[in-house]
Amino acid sequence: MRILTLDLSEYTYEIDEREDLNDWIGGVGIATQLMKEEIDPKADPLSEGNVIVFAVGPFTPAYPFASKTVALFKSPLTGNLGESHAGGRTATSIANAGYDAIVIKGASNKPIYIVIHNDKVYFKDARVLWGIEDSLIVGRIIAEKEKGRGIRTVMRIGGAGENLVRYACVTTETYRHFGRLGLGAVFGSKKLKALVVVGRGSKRPRNVKGYREIYDKIFQIAVNSDAMQKYHLLGTAVNVNPLNELKGLPTKNLKSAHFEDAEEISGEEFAAHNLGRRIACNHCPTACIHIAALRQPYGNEKYFFKTIMISYDYELIYALGSMLGINSRDGVLKLIHRVESYTLDAISTGVCLAWATEALEKGLISDGECIVSLRFGDVDAYLKAIDFIYLQPNEFYRTLAKGVEKASEVYGGGDFALSFGGNEMAGYHTGHGSHIGYLIGLRHSHLDNAGYSLDQKAELSPEELIERLVKEEQWRQILSSLVVCFFARGVYTPEIVVEAFKPLGIEIDEEELRKKGEMIYLEKLKLKKKLGFDIESLRIPKRVMEVESFRGRLSQKYFDDALKYYKKLFSKALFD
């Protein structure tokens, strides 16, 4: 494994060959080991002691869908292990530049951005870029100035990252994000405005004929089977209508799991009226990135229009749509665009604003504190509130910028603060599975755990649920070590993974793979515990149990039994 380590405190870098890491496959497997080595578990997430690891896997850039990069860091939102994955061109640029992982330590005194060009690293002055709050503009400036068109990634932060909003994200290639758990604030705390990686490289497969054959097999499954159909057609937004019908779509701060206007903001309606373009992550034939065209008049001049291209997905429609009671597609798009500009995590922002709206209704906070009067459905008020989360003009917004858990500790309303282990909930109120999944999820910020799909399949006992969640999670450690997109999990079955390894010179069978998945799972759980994760402090917000889900009313007893069983299964890792 070839590891590039950057020290921002001293503006130095070194490249190491680490054969001892080979057992850990790549991606999250090696990132966990590097994090263990490098981080002081007690480090403040926003201090120079925090460490960021970006890692790619052995299938990048050999095969389609191996387009994801894993980032590990200490999360300023939860205070323990942060993990976030992004697509775009990040993974292939890092791999083509010749690296399996990039480790970032220390912090710069002055704003900088970094350009990695194959074996060389350039630390560059970003004082002029600092203060540009719109990540799209930052991206354009760097794209014009730097070399490497088409073979580079531009990871950057907007204003929310600079201002240390604890759920600021890092954006890459305009529309993809290391979205959750605050990597953007960690960049901001290190005065790192952007990280550019330019990679031009090649390697040879060990088995020439076998490589082209398995490549073609994967490609054919990708384009000719229905494995990718959901993402290929309407995209993740296809979930809006069915989840709403199942009573699984969190609405108005989960006062309900059914939104009467869901149809209006569904994937079908976006495709019919707004979809303007599709784009793809590098080396992905599916092109699931759906971009809407929002045409808006200037307002002060007749016949002048601007057209903004905005990427939408299910989670964004949930967090900035149904959760806030927004029933117009233009409204949802405006909110997404605002969040995108500042590099805020859309899910956390939506959940924070939904909580604030209800807290205002209940009189826990005042109109004065909110500055604008927040009401479900009021797009203009939410647009202003997003500005305030970024600018933090008063104590209330400074607190809200720390997440909904912190805000409810200060102002009350914990029962309806939809946070799980300090992270704002994803958009599935399908049953016990999704919520337990948020709590014990060990990957990708607990966003896409298997819980919501288990909820839809069968009524399980708490013990069965835990076993199936953990088993799936362990397999997904393999997928995130390879690192392939989770949307392609139907393509990368264990058989295909074993076969795809062969031409790369790696012999491994399915059983060994599954064992490695279990090992990586355990290693990460231990690291998470070491960084501050405390399973005893987890709570389920009461609201979750008050609102009918697809599986009916959810019970505290079920949650308690499930967690008890989980603690028993992993008592050594969780309590030693």
Binding site: P61, A62, P64, R89, T92, A95, N96, N118, L136, G139, R140, A143, E144, R149, G150, I151, E173, T174, Y175, R200, G201, S202, K203, R204, P205, V208, K209, Y211, R212, Y215, F219, V223, R277, R278, I279, A280, C281, N282, H283, C284, P285, T286, A287, I291, I308, M309
Partner: protein, 137 residues
């Protein structure tokens, strides 16, 4: 009879770069992983908000790249484009400068990568951007 790679509908490009990876794999005896040897490029238009496009040899009848090659490594093909004799290439980069549409790329070993109109990439373009057709000339 020879065929040429053509861009059929550039507006359909999603920027996935599957053509670049196909180009690197095209030689059945010596396929590469990664795009150093790729003679085609998929780029965004200064950010993906403005879409994506492909940069590739347009098969000039009088190729400027060939005219500036000091070692005859680039020989004009009958119906447009060039034949690249890699062995003769000294890596002077004159051709890269000479190509008006910047469709010749520098490899890490100093030599160049460019489209030889073999058509291998067309079958891997999932969205019908590329086409492989009989040369008209």
């Amino acid at each position: 009879m020879s065929k040429l790679l053509l861009i059929k509908d550039i507006e359909k490009c999603v920027g996935c770069a599957l053509c670049m990876y196909a180009c690197a794999r095209k030689n059945p005896r010596k396929p590469f992983i990664g795009y150093d040897h790729s003679g085609i490029s998929a780029v965004s238009l200064s950010g993906f908000e403005r879409g994506a496009t492909i940069i590739v040899c347009k098969a000039c009848q009088e190729p400027p790249c060939s005219q500036v090659c000091p070692t005859d490594a680039l020989i004009p093909r009958k119906n447009g484009g060039v034949i690249y004799k890699e062995r003769l290439c000294i890596g002077c980069k004159n051709c890269i400068e000479a190509c008006t549409i910047s469709a010749i790329f520098e490899r890490r070993d100093g030599k160049i990568a460019l489209c030889i109109h073999c058509g291998y990439c067309v079958d891997y373009c999932p969205h019908g951007v590329l086409d492989y057709v009989e040369a008209s000339g």
